[in-house]
């Protein structure tokens, strides 16, 4: 295992064009193979942070590096490389799945990085089997259930064999069975994961380590099981364990 962290963010600050400041110097380091939950109340800047990871939002101050290479949104060539390494699964699978069939959608990323023919086919099928959706490869996305669409969305990103998988609210709108199935899939993957979520039990189930983004900085960085015992600390960042849930 390499010692270069999968993700390293130092002093990242960001203000929206209207002047509203969202991030005030975020510091975060994630080692290869770690699974980390990014928690935080609504409007804490979680999505803004995520969009920095592959250079969709240009870094204004500070730096983001993925597996040792700096994300520089002005350098088109390096950006292409970064986007192959950072796989973002967005919250609404309908935003993510835009091609006429499941297989074509999964092939979209690898195609952009230059794969063709049999190799493209293989990568697509591998990614689909990892999420258990291979038999749906020729179906149009709108014929799938929400949970299935979310799984395909994960496959679209896995197909690019990313260094780090970033999931935005992976458990939202899923029924309990789909939620568990997705957890099983995520656990089986040998990849660094950053999971943005409000679903604290899900974070506990999947991620050893949790960080809280609050007030534009990483306010807390702890083992998930320890953190969730500190009810008051959670409450000060507008986070609460669901009713009946105790550690």
């Amino acid at each position: 295992m390499s010692t270069i962290p999968s993700l390293k963010i130092s002093n990242l600050a960001y203000a929206y064009p209207d002047g509203h400041q969202a991030l005030y110097g975020v510091k975060l380091e994630i080692s290869k193979g770690e699974k980390v939950a990014l928690l935080g109340p609504n409007g804490a800047g979680k999505t803004t942070l995520v969009l920095h990871l592959n250079g969709i939002i240009a870094t204004q101050q500070g730096s983001v590096s993925v597996a040792g290479s700096v994300v520089d949104s002005k350098n088109k060539e390096s950006l292409k490389h970064i986007r192959e390494r950072v796989g973002i699964v967005f919250q609404d699978p309908d935003d993510q799945l835009f091609m006429p069939t499941v297989a074509e959608d999964v092939a979209f990323g690898p195609y952009n990085s230059g794969l063709r023919g049999a190799e493209l086919e293989k990568v697509t099928n591998d990614a689909l089997s990892k999420v258990g959706m291979l038999e749906y490869r020729d179906r149009p996305p709108h014929h799938l259930s929400f949970g299935q669409r979310r799984r395909v969305a994960v496959a679209t990103v896995l197909a690019m064999s990313p260094e780090i998988l970033v999931l935005d609210e992976p458990s939202s709108n899923l029924d309990p069975a789909s939620r568990r199935e997705l957890a099983e899939i995520l656990r089986s993957l040998d990849v660094t994961i950053l999971m943005v979520t409000h679903d604290l039990p899900y974070a506990l189930e999947l991620c050893e380590r949790s960080v809280i983004l609050s007030g534009g900085v990483i306010a807390v960085d702890e083992r998930t099981s320890e953190l969730f015992k500190k009810t008051e600390l959670l409450a000060s960042h507008r986070l609460e364990l669901p009713f009946g849930f105790k550690l």
């Binding site: 592959n54 969709i56 935003d95 990323g109």
Partner: protein, 200 residues
Amino acid sequence: MLLVLIRMAKLPYRTVFIRSLVEIPFVLFALLMPFFGTGPKVQFLGLELYEAGIWAGTGIVAKGTIGVMTAIILSASTSAREILIGLEKLRVPQPLVSIATFMLRYLNVINDELGRMKIARESRGFEERGLRSWRILAQTVGALFIRSYERGERVYLAMLSRGYIGAMTKLSDEKERRLATALILPATAALISISTGVLL
């Protein structure tokens, strides 16, 4: 020729007939044409008909029937996705094919959204009646437009995240070319028209 095609595509004649009923208004219009007009007249079954009208009417019916029939055969025998692949192969500009592809994908999503908005409206006692409801309906259309626009932005971000740099994935397999098959229909039509022209 079209009948042969329907036969080859294994389409039920009934479906084709029902779908072709859209043509009726045009046929009626064409039937009226010989009664109005100017110029030389001919006697037919005791009716006085204008010659120019007859030709124009026959022209409309013939062209209309051919157009409607081909459209029906195409839509009934080919899936929307195959049509897109076809367009791509016919070298229709890539942006146009992409737009059509996205339309195909998101038509359902937007339709669902519209359905949900309708349910939400009606759940709060809205009745779709009279001039007053138009204002609300117009607002719904506006809201739908904004939502779709924003969705478009999110989709674009998702595309960028997966390395989109301006060129869409080719839908079709480049190697597969069936020029000869594709030419059968236009070639037959050309042959028939040329031979009729020569004979007359």
